[in-house]
């Protein structure tokens, strides 16, 4: 962890779905290069929180600042934040009517205005990095789940984001494909990418995370480095959750 100004800052963020209070005074700081793993029971607001960071959901009170840009109703700011933040979804969300390569070059060409040739070169380099360059001209429907998720990671990387958000990237995968996706994420982490991952892959969290965040009922209950988080959690609810998930 570094002491520099945080690249992501959430301060007293609150969000309601109608009457339902999903996020309650959520405060979290992420430093440049920090790897944060978020866990917590289903419905605790993990997805909602990270989706607020790139404004897929809007928050009603509190401050969210990404790389110095405060998120609000300003559409320019939202676009700027989205340029800096890549997102990987549980259900991949690749564009089925475009080839793998087209999935990767779409945003660089149409949003960033990069020349198609350059975008393709970048895309091929990224496909090398996620180890599926040979699938470039296939359609997403012709790939396995693990391959699709790796394409999705490459697509999110295409705009050279400063931060990557992962929302349970492996929970829609067959067990034998989880490893290949986590490998890609680990090597991304090793290269110094700032990452926020919602995941219940605890072995991955222990190996990669700088910081563990536990959420329950819309609150951030505990923030701690993994060693402390797993071995001596401070909060009773964290302990119960870990007991269930690791099966101690």
């Amino acid at each position: 962890m570094t002491a520099a100004a945080p690249i992501i800052e959430l301060r007293d963020v609150n969000k309601w779905y109608g009457e339902f209070h999903v996020l309650k005074d959520v405060t979290l700081e992420v430093a440049k290069g920090e790897k944060v793993v978020v866990c917590g029971p289903s419905g605790s607001g993990k997805s909602t929180m990270i989706r607020c960071i790139n404004r897929l959901e809007e928050h009603q009170s509190g401050r969210i600042v990404v790389d110095g840009i405060a998120l609000g109703d300003d559409l320019k700011a939202i676009d700027a934040v989205r340029r800096r933040v890549g997102m990987v979804f549980q259900s991949f969300n690749l564009f089925p009517h475009l080839t793998v390569l087209e999935n990767l070059t779409l945003a660089p060409v149409k949003v960033a205005g990069i020349a198609p040739k350059d975008a393709q070169a970048t895309a091929m380099a990224l496909l090398e990095r996620v180890r599926i360059p040979e699938q470039a001209s296939k359609f997403p429907g012709q790939l396995s789940g693990g391959q699709q998720q790796r394409v999705a990671i490459a697509r999110a990387l295409c705009l050279k984001p400063a931060v990557m958000l992962f929302d349970e990237p492996t929970s829609a995968l067959d067990p034998e494909m989880v490893g290949e996706v986590l490998d890609v994420m680990s090597s991304l982490a090793a290269e110094g990418m700032t990452m926020i991952c919602v995941t219940h892959e605890m072995a991955f969290a222990r190996a990669v995370a700088d910081t563990m965040v536990f959420m329950d009922e819309g609150r951030v209950v505990e923030i701690a480095p993994p060693s402390q988080f797993f071995d001596s959690p401070a909060n009773e609810r964290t302990r119960r959750f870990l007991g269930k998930i690791i099966g101690k």
Binding site: N54, R55, L56, D79, R82, R83, V85, G86, M87, F89, S91, F92, N93, L94, F95, P96, H97, T99, L106, A107, K110, V111, K138, F139, P140, G141, Q142, R155, A156, L159
Partner: protein
């Protein structure tokens, strides 16, 4: 022969019930086919002739077509100018043939359409290049049907996309306008839309300004078709998972980029069958423009039977018109099947 016999035994006489059905079917065919062949082919009269010669032959009077086809095809268009609508028709068919090729789906196709429409307009209207002016009131037959149907479809399609997007819009005003338009037009019979376009519309225009009758019919057809198409398109939009919108948002694509590049290509592919259904309906519904006094293919066919001497042979006339309608509709139907297969290649 043995394989054919085996096939027949298995498929036609496999069970007592099947045997009965097969025999009944054969009896029916025996009742229908020979008399029809006798009428349509053996006793028919072909080529030039008179109603009298037809009556003597006793069968189908294809002579009617030989004698009257120009009236059926071109309606009231001045006889010695028929080469103009004929050429326009050929242009239309060529345009459709080109447009149906996937490798021609390039920006220049739009320019080609614009150029062709202008050229067809010049041919039909005249008034320049030494061509005599022919008012649209004199247009008729197949060219009129094609002009109205094709232009109505081509204009209504993009309109319907805008309406469908409008109906799903977050902006209350745009949504209200789209819903209001679609529900209003869908709630009216086409006949009344045509009447409104043709009779009421001019009442709202300032004095002295008149809008051409064929144009008014075209506007009516377009407005009507767009409302129905919009609902088909909306069906496709609804089938697209939320994740596609979110992925596009997360990549920073704007609303129109998301729609144009991500959502519509998938949504429209899903609704090719209902869209083509609506195209076919539109094509056939052009026959209703006759109620505002235009002579489309069907009305021109009817007009060609006005002569009492030819009137007994109306069956042949309508059969010929039906065949023309069928050819175009069948082409659209087959084309949509091909298009579905073509677009599904690779993906999914």
């Amino acid at each position: 022969m043995t394989t054919a016999a085996a096939w027949a035994k298995k498929n036609l006489f496999g069970s007592p019930a099947n045997t009965v059905l097969t025999l009944l079917g054969l009896a029916l065919l025996w009742q229908v086919v020979p008399p029809f062949v006798g009428w349509a082919l053996i006793h028919a009269s072909w080529g030039a002739g008179t109603p009298e010669s037809c009556r003597q032959a006793g069968g189908a009077c294809w002579t009617l077509l030989a004698e009257r086809h120009r009236l059926m095809l071109f309606g009231l268009y001045p006889y010695e100018q028929h080469w103009r609508p004929f050429l326009a028709m050929l242009l239309f068919v060529a345009l459709l043939a080109i447009s149906s090729q996937r490798r021609c789906w390039r920006p220049w196709l739009g320019a080609l359409w614009a150029a062709a429409v202008v050229l067809i307009g010049v041919l039909m209207w005249g008034g320049v290049l030494g061509l005599a002016t022919v008012e649209t009131a004199q247009w008729g037959g197949l060219p009129l049907t094609l002009v109205i149907a094709v232009l109505a479809i081509v204009i209504a399609f993009p309109m319907s996309i805008v309406l469908a997007l409008g109906r799903r819009s977050q902006l209350p005003a745009i949504k209200a306008v789209s819903v209001g338009y679609i529900e209003l037009v869908r709630g009216l019979p086409l006949v009344s839309v045509l009447f409104m376009a043709s009779v009421m519309f001019p009442l709202f225009l300032p004095e002295g300004i008149t809008i051409d009758k064929a144009l008014r019919a075209l506007v009516g057809m377009t407005l009507f078709t767009a409302a129905y198409l919009a609902e088909a398109v909306r069906g496709g939009l609804q089938a697209i998972p939320k994740g596609q919108f979110e992925a596009a948002d997360a990549l920073g694509l704007g609303y129109w980029q998301t729609m144009r590049l991500i959502i519509l290509p998938q949504a429209l592919r899903l609704v090719i069958p209902p869209i083509v259904n609506q195209f076919i309906t539109c094509f056939k519904d052009t026959s209703l423009v006759t109620i505002v006094g235009l002579y489309d293919l069907l009305a021109a066919t009817k007009a060609s039977l006005n002569d009492p001497a030819w009137r007994p042979f109306f069956v042949e006339g309508y059969l010929a018109a039906a065949l023309v309608y069928f050819c175009f509709c069948f082409f659209m139907s087959r084309y949509s099947q091909w298009l579905e297969r073509e677009l599904a290649k690779g993906s999914r």
